[in-house]
């Protein structure tokens, strides 16, 4: 039983990171970033490559470096995407926005293929080297504990930025009312880039953390995108609290779903999302 809960938390950690990024971008810019999964994939490939390069050294160092590199890369790509693709269409109708991020997704998938090729990339040294802990009489991989701890840290850091720093407060102001914020002199353009970079780096972090347990593969970003989407719908668009609660819920639902209702795991998650959209479209904590 405890193991199911732990697994739910572990899975929820990844959900949290990706949905956090998605919800920040959605909240601050009103854009549903369909390329978010590709940013996750980019983080995964970058981390796998870095860990592979540093294979001769200690795995923990390799992991830390990989995380830093992935986050830096995805933040940079996020900035590029925002400046070149999002900015020109920010005032245009919704269909153009969705399509251009869709185009970015297709583009990035093949760029990844160009750079890293079509084969699966494994980088399990950090996972194996950490071994298993003995928690409450149960054996549990230390790596999973590490992931959960790091995610909690990242979440806390983002919360501090949003709640305590000037930039964070301005971001929340833009999310609440974009026109009003602009009227009050908030530098929308610069902050939009910041929001996108922050969101992208979260996706990159998630990808990097995934790689020691699962291979980096072409198309690996599709499922995280959909799952993040479900979490954002349930938790509420633009809400950090929603991302936390939503990812906890969905993580547990999946863990127990696989354990007890293995035939129905995916449809149930979508059904929950649909019911929430029908009953309370802004999600649990989103604004109307």
């Amino acid at each position: 039983m405890v193991l199911y809960i732990l697994n739910g938390l572990y899975f929820g950690a990844f959900l949290f990171l990706t949905s956090l990024g998605l919800t920040i971008i959605l909240g601050v810019m009103g854009i549903l970033n369909l390329a978010h999964g590709s940013l996750f994939a980019l983080g995964a490939f970058m981390a796998a490559w870095t860990i592979g390069l540093l294979a001769t050294g200690p795995p923990s160092t390799a992991l830390i470096l990989a995380i830093i590199c992935s986050m830096a890369l995805t933040a940079a790509v996020g900035f590029l995407l925002e400046r070149s693709l999002i900015k020109p269409i920010i005032r245009r109708p919704l269909e153009y926005q969705l399509l251009i991020t869709f185009g970015a997704l297709l583009l990035m998938e093949d760029v990844i293929k160009l750079v890293w090729g079509g084969e699966a990339r494994y980088a399990s040294a950090p996972f194996d080297s950490m071994g298993r802990a003995n928690l409450l009489g149960l054996e549990y991989p230390w790596y999973f504990v590490f992931v959960m701890a790091l995610t909690a840290l990242a979440g806390a850091a983002v919360w501090v930025v949003m709640a305590r720093t000037r930039a964070g407060i301005m971001l929340r102001a833009i999310a609440m009312d974009r026109d009003m914020a602009e009227a009050m002199g908030i530098p929308i353009k610069r902050l939009s880039s910041l929001a996108f970079m922050l969101g992208a780096s979260m996706a990159g972090l998630a990808g990097a953390l995934m790689v020691p347990t699962s291979p980096a593969l072409l198309g690996i970003g599709m499922e995280p995108l959909i799952m993040a989407f479900i979490v954002v719908v349930i938790g509420g668009m633009g809400s950090l609290k929603g991302a936390v609660v939503g990812s906890l819920l969905v993580g547990q639902a999946r863990s127990f779903g696989v354990g007890f209702l293995p035939e129905l795991e995916m449809p149930i998650l979508f059904l929950i999302a649909v019911l929430i959209l029908i009953g309370r479209p802004q999600g649990m904590f989103g604004k109307g």
């Binding site: 293929k113 084969e119 699966a120 494994y122 996972f127 054996e139 347990t213 072409l218 354990g259 293995p262």
Partner: protein, 442 residues
Amino acid sequence: MAGRLRRREFVKWTGAGALGVATGATFSSRAYGATKKEVPKGPIKIAAVSFLTGAAAAPFGIPGDNTFKMMADIYNQQGGILGRKIELKSYDEAGGADAQVKLARKLIMEDKVDVILGYISSGDCKAVLPLSDELGALIVAYDCGSHELLEGEKSPFKYPKYTLGFRSKAHLGIDNIGLALMIKKYLPNVKKIAGINPDYAWGRESWRVFEVAMKKLFPGIEVAVTLWPALGATDYTAHITTLMNSGADIVHSSLWGGDAVTFTKQAIGMGLFQKTRMAYSRGEPYPQELGADFPEDQLICCAGTHYFLYPPHDKWPLNKWFVEEYHKRYNKYPTYPCYHAYQAFAVYKAAVEKAASLVGGWPTPEEIAAAMKGLAIETPSGYLHIDQDHNGREDVLVGFTKKVEGYPFPILDPKRMEVFPAHMVNAPAGVRTEDWIQSWKV
């Protein structure tokens, strides 16, 4: 007088006879020549379809594709098929069943290939093989295992299902029946089993055959849990926890390719192998893929008798040659996708040659198909027989993994290896595998 006459008559009759035979021969060969073209000069276009990208590429698609290329090269060095050079082009099996249907359609209708040798995924096979009759071209499925591909809905069923569609290997019946027989022999005290299989034709059918066979051999056996991750899923942590909690003695899995590698790595890290034993219905490539980390004492089935150490090199020179040639070119030992690729290509070549010897010239797809039915050829793994239902028939090798000096990965324990002969693990043509199992007298 009578003698001379008789001799003259003899000469006359012999002459007439000879003339008659000669004329007859000329006419008949002209008759054949009139309806059959001569062997064209141009190359034979062969399309080889395997996973060249994605998780299945490294353990499956690329070894299979390598073998196709290797054999094309070797056959061309020997003069090609009936003197025609082979032009082999490789295509990626990625994209799912729908993309493969579109690719096959393009290969047949636009590129006009002579034959497609391909398909690892049962989902792709089931979608593409019907196109053989639909579009009028030969398709030889080389690696997929779905037994329903060529079996009917009920026993007895009419066969062959497709005139121009073949599978140059046995189907998943041998893997799962072989595992069940092995468990009966070596682990007769098994009480609880579980299953983790990919959620598509291959996984669903593999489990079904295994379950039916186990229930027949172990009446009263309990199935603790069956899990169905999506094909290509990369996160098995929840599944592994569930399996570790299930109390199963043996966990059956038809996970293959990248899925099997990822699953095993995660399972090693989470400690699954301390709690239970895995039985991989198609496990043969994975010890080599995972290297020394692969746990010992797990059940591995070889999808036939395809294993680089079997048949023993001193007893079966063709395997010795095959392993050495593949290792020379690609620096790895061939795994079962390689053996299967060899089979598909060899079967095609043999069928073309056999058909040509009967009809002369270059045979049509229908003539090649007629020759392919009932064909028996020598392969590096032993004899392969293509039965009347267009399925291959093979023996199956099952073993336990064990670390042995001299190899960088666990091999099959030579003291606990079994080869089950074809008649014990293949249903006869026209009978559904599940029905055949139920009919056993145990």
